[in-house]
């Protein structure tokens, strides 16, 4: 093991190179600029493709095109920029093409601010594009986990021919942490890209990449096929971690930076004799609903903690099916809570219950 200290955004770029990225298309926005900055140098040096497009809309459509031609392709942006990309994302999902999208969340709505946030949970898991489509969404909590997930994301996208969204907050992007790039990732079988528009030399006829199906029968069949794929993803790619779940009084649900803050709160509460467990979703879609069935009996309530006004809260309520009282604690606007705030929220759980 060889540890290096690296900024989150740079680590994402290095991991993308290790994941075999062929092309990057993007448009600058804080707090993710170190990703394109790093790739602009290193992708070109490796004889690969880097384009700073004229806008986010152009960038995501370049991703669409390059993915259609069979390349391993990615883009990155932050909240308002990801909003602009939604149309293209829906087209890519509709055309069943693989790509990796990195979203480094900042405070919203609108231009909002440039400090860390988790207020794009809905944007990531519900999307702003049209139609019945899903992105595979991963929300790592450390820079190390971000690297591991980035390296694997290109394989997952290729395997399912579906966009993968890696969702981190601005703190993960901007902080530096000791990491190890040599941690091995799961090897997957990747089928040949026989859909790619690479000319007719190796196959008869033309490949056409499209998300347009004017015949309703055909479009319904296409949607049913997509749903079959999404079910397969739900079965195989749901990721989560259970922490301190032996005999907890309360259970916290948190992801990303917030789950790390909650880990510290759980340690402090343990010292005071209060046992608190945590469900940490790593995949936000598919959401780890089954984890809620593993909550032991005797739990007094579930606290959902987010750097938003309560977005994942919906999935917590859906997954818990009314079995527990559910409380919420959130900070927004770039305010990152300290562990002591979570400790207080658990101690005053009754005040946090969502009516």
């Amino acid at each position: 093991m060889a540890k290096v200290l690296m900024k989150g955004n740079e680590a994402i770029a290095v991991a993308a190179l290790k994941g075999g990225v062929d092309a990057f298309f993007g448009y600058p926005i804080t707090p993710q600029n170190e990703i394109p900055e790093y790739l602009s140098k290193h992708l070109l040096a490796a004889g690969k493709v880097f384009v700073q497009a004229e806008s986010e809309v152009a960038a995501i459509n370049m991703v669409y095109g390059a993915a259609g031609a069979g390349a391993r392709v990615m883009t990155s942006s932050s909240s308002p920029g990801i909003a602009l990309k939604q149309e293209g994302i829906s087209y890519i999902a509709g055309a069943e093409l693989p790509c990796v999208i990195v979203s480094v969340m900042r405070g919203g709505p609108g231009l909002g601010g440039i400090q860390p946030s988790q207020a794009d949970y809905y944007q990531a898991t519900r999307g702003g594009g049209n139609g019945d489509y899903q992105l595979i969404v991963y929300a790592p909590e450390t820079i190390q986990e971000t690297i591991d997930i980035m390296k694997e994301s290109f394989d997952i996208a290729d395997y399912y021919r579906n966009p993968v969204l890696v969702l981190v907050d601005g703190l993960i992007g901007q902080m530096m942490e000791t990491v190890d790039f040599e941690k091995p990732v799961k090897k997957r079988f990747i089928p040949a890209k026989d859909y790619a528009t690479t000319g007719t030399a190796n196959h008869p006829g033309r490949n056409i990449v499209n998300s347009l199906f004017l015949d309703p029968v055909e479009l319904e069949q296409h949607n049913l096929q997509l749903q079959k794929k999404y079910q397969q993803i739900k079965n195989n790619e749901t990721k989560y971690e259970m922490i301190n779940m032996e005999n907890p009084e309360y259970v916290i649900v948190a992801y990303g930076t917030m789950s790390r803050i909650c880990r510290s709160a759980i340690e402090s509460l343990k010292e005071e004799g209060i046992e608190v467990g945590m469900i940490r979703p790593i995949s936000l879609w598919p959401y780890p609903k089954a984890a809620f069935n593993e909550i032991p009996s005797g739990v007094k309530g579930i606290l959902c903690a987010e750097m938003s006004m309560g977005q994942m809260l919906d999935d917590v309520m859906i997954s818990d099916k009314g079995r527990h009282e559910i409380g919420f604690y959130g900070r927004v606007g770039g305010m990152v809570p300290e562990p002591e705030e979570i400790v207080d929220a658990i101690k005053n759980f009754k005040d946090k219950v969502v009516k």
């Binding site: 540890k3 290096v4 200290l5 400090q115 000791t178 790390r260 510290s264 562990p339």
Partner: protein, 187 residues
């Protein structure tokens, strides 16, 4: 020895506050420990003060943010005032006594002043005042093996700033010497 330290480094922009924090985090990586650094880049940076948080730990670091620090490195008076009360028991406040003339006290921490501007100016470059502070800090805390910071500095300065290496090494030594000569200690 330590298992986990929260370090707050604060001062004016240009005093080498961010570099100080990063050198500690790079040293953690060099010694295969867990290290984390993040800059305050929020609205609180307005008004001329810069600060960063550093965590060095023997185990996986949980929360990247903390309410109270084990060690505060204050390069100027506004920074000292801002973070003075946010200390853990048994902490260390290391401050720039070239700019903070009054004796600093705390119920929770040992307070030690180092005249880093004066020492650095005597060396011929005010720029290395942060490295004087680093020498003093590492002498007091023994956070890392003595040679680690030298190796990290060589890498940090790189070929471009290799001509700055000698004066930086001298600054480190002067910081260590000041602590030894003053006879101050921090267990």
């Amino acid at each position: 020895m330590f298992d986990h330290v929260n370090i707050k480094v604060a001062g004016f922009g240009g005093q080498g506050v961010m570099m100080f924090g990063q050198l500690i985090a790079y040293s953690a990586a060099y010694e295969e420990l867990f290290g984390l650094w993040f800059p305050s880049y929020g609205p609180e940076t307005r008004g001329g003060t810069a600060n960063c948080s550093v965590i060095v730990s023997k185990k996986q670091i949980n929360s990247p943010v903390f309410q109270s620090a084990n060690h505060l490195i204050a390069f100027n008076l506004p920074s000292l005032q801002k973070f003075h009360d946010k200390m853990k028991d048994g902490g260390l406040i290391l401050y720039n006594s070239s700019l903070i003339k009054d004796q600093v006290t705390s119920d929770k921490a040992i307070c030690i002043g180092i005249p880093i501007n004066d020492i650095a100016t005597d060396l011929g470059s005010i720029q290395v005042s942060n490295i004087v502070m680093m020498g003093a800090y590492l002498e007091l805390t023994n956070l890392f093996v003595e040679s680690t910071i030298e190796k990290v500095l060589i890498k940090y300065l790189g070929e471009k700033k290799a001509h700055m290496l000698d004066i930086n090494m001298e600054a480190l030594r002067k910081g260590r010497e000041y602590v030894l000569e003053a006879g101050v200690t921090y267990a």
